[in-house]
């Protein structure tokens, strides 16, 4: 770890932007990511050439999970850019093989899963449904329908607000072109998935549909576990930062979806500011404030348009599994009043994923906030990695 001027945790757009901006001032930068390669969610195995080139002066280590505060021991400034994961909401049949995340299916396809000829239903909320539908079609899948839970009126309001973001309109036109002919339903969500050993059929609001794959995604939740372990402050589930992207923990900056959900441009500009600020280039960082403000406004439009509807809370039946690691069912949970109580009484959230799937679902279903984080027992601390 010695010899580096900056360490970045997470090699998605935010982490890459932070690392590049810092490295371009002559700083020696190390980026760590738990995925095999850099890119994060949107650029998985596919970093735009311009950024790939800028990244050539940065040392990137894949397959490296940062799991504890030993990363702080060396006194090197840290930028956290650990991004987000998908939000999954339980419904009958959601544990069947063939039911994946929307971004999850995208990740599997980008890592070699061949979907040619497969019938796919996409359901949930947000622009990710469209981005993934487009990718699936390009890879030869038959996207039988897209079910968006948001009401039509909210989407129209969102679309009319888009004129302020020409880049997004251009992306939208490109997407629209690649999705011609795919049925897109608003006010529509998955009520149940059926199948024996894998998903075969799905019931949506008012109709049923055969499928080989069902991809679901109800938005994103930030990966705040590492930030919490390092002692950063959170508000409404996101890491709190000041204008320079600095967290309340000395020596730690944060950028990207960790501080708010809002797409790749928001992550990039926050990453640039964090990278510059962390190595003391405050004047350069300040020049990016107005660009960041624009993408923050875009992010709040996004959040408003795709708010989750209360009907989704009524989807689990008493025997629907909520915690997939420990097979804890909905009616095992209804009598408890907090995540902590449910954990102690039922082991909900105590399995291998440590509540990273059911924790956010329970927050939506029951309003529970799980703030406890344990470092995983199996991974090696970062100081070991650094010395090897």
């Amino acid at each position: 770890m010695t010899g580096f001027d900056l360490i970045v945790a997470g090699a998605g757009p935010a982490g890459i932007a932070a690392a590049c901006r810092a490295a371009e001032t002559g700083a020696k930068v190390l980026v760590l990511d738990n995925n095999p390669a850099a890119g994060g969610q949107i650029w998985r195995n596919d970093i735009p050439a311009l950024w790939a080139q800028r990244l050539s002066n940065v040392e990137v280590r894949g397959g490296c999970s940062v799991i504890d505060d030993s990363i702080l021991a060396h006194g090197v400034p840290i930028v956290l850019a650990t991004g987000a994961r998908e939000l999954f909401l339980p419904f009958p049949g959601w544990t069947l093989p063939g039911v994946t995340g929307v971004g999850g299916l995208q990740a599997l396809v980008k890592s070699g899963f061949e979907v040619r000829g497969k019938r796919v239903v996409l359901a949930g909320t947000g622009p990710l449904l469209l981005a993934v539908a487009s990718l699936l079609r390009k890879r030869g899948a038959s996207v039988t329908c897209i079910a968006e839970q948001a009401p039509r009126s909210a989407l129209l309001r969102f679309a009319t607000g888009l004129w302020r973001y020409p880049l997004k309109i251009a992306q939208g036109i490109e997407l629209g072109g690649s999705l011609l002919g795919v049925p897109y339903f608003t006010d529509c969500w998955v009520e149940e998935a059926y199948g024996r050993d894998r998903v075969e059929r799905v019931r949506l609001s008012g109709f049923e549909q055969d499928c080989d794959l069902l991809a679901i995604g109800y938005g994103l939740v930030p990966n705040t576990e590492l930030a919490t372990l390092l002692g950063c402050t959170l508000q409404d589930g996101f890491v709190t930062v000041d204008a320079m992207q600095k967290t309340w923990r000395e020596g730690v900056w944060a950028a990207g979806e960790l501080t708010g959900i809002g797409g790749v441009e928001r992550s990039l500009v926050e990453g640039e500011i964090a990278g510059l600020a962390a190595i003391g280039e405050l004047t350069e960082a300040r020049k990016l404030f107005s660009r960041r403000a624009a993408w923050h406004r875009f992010a709040s439009h996004l959040t408003g348009a795709f708010a989750l509807r209360p009907e989704l809370r009524a989807l689990p039946r008493p025997d629907t599994i909520v915690c997939r690691c420990e097979d804890i069912r909905y009616n095992d949970l209804t009598r408890w009043t907090s995540a902590r109580e449910a954990k102690l009484q039922t082991r909900c959230g105590m399995g291998l994923c440590q509540g990273r799937i059911c924790g956010a679902a329970n927050h939506f279903l029951f309003g529970w906030q799980d703030t406890s984080v344990r470092p995983p027992a199996s991974a090696a601390p970062v100081s070991d990695l650094m010395e090897s």
Binding site: N35, N45, P97, F113, R324
Partner: protein, 76 residues
């Protein structure tokens, strides 16, 4: 590149994860849950642990592991 899945030999392209190779080979059940339900990849990004299989004798997340020549994968 060749890998071994239970008693089958698979030819896979470089850069493919074990999860993708298994799905391509028609595997639908990756593990059994504690109550005996069939499970398969959900998140595709190392969060859910539903894609856990035995790779060269170790329990690993197949979605986070790239195929390597001669790798041996067991689903049960």
């Amino acid at each position: 590149m060749k890998i071994y899945l239970d008693d089958r030999t698979l030819t896979v392209e470089r850069g493919t994860t074990v999860a993708a190779a298994m799905l391509n080979a028609g595997v639908s059940v990756f593990r059994e849950s504690v109550s005996g339900e069939p499970r398969a990849p959900l998140c595709g990004m190392g969060v859910c642990y539903e894609c856990m299989v035995t790779i060269d004798g170790q329990r690993e997340l197949s979605c986070q592991t790239l195929c390597q020549e001669g790798m041996r994968i067991l689903t049960r």
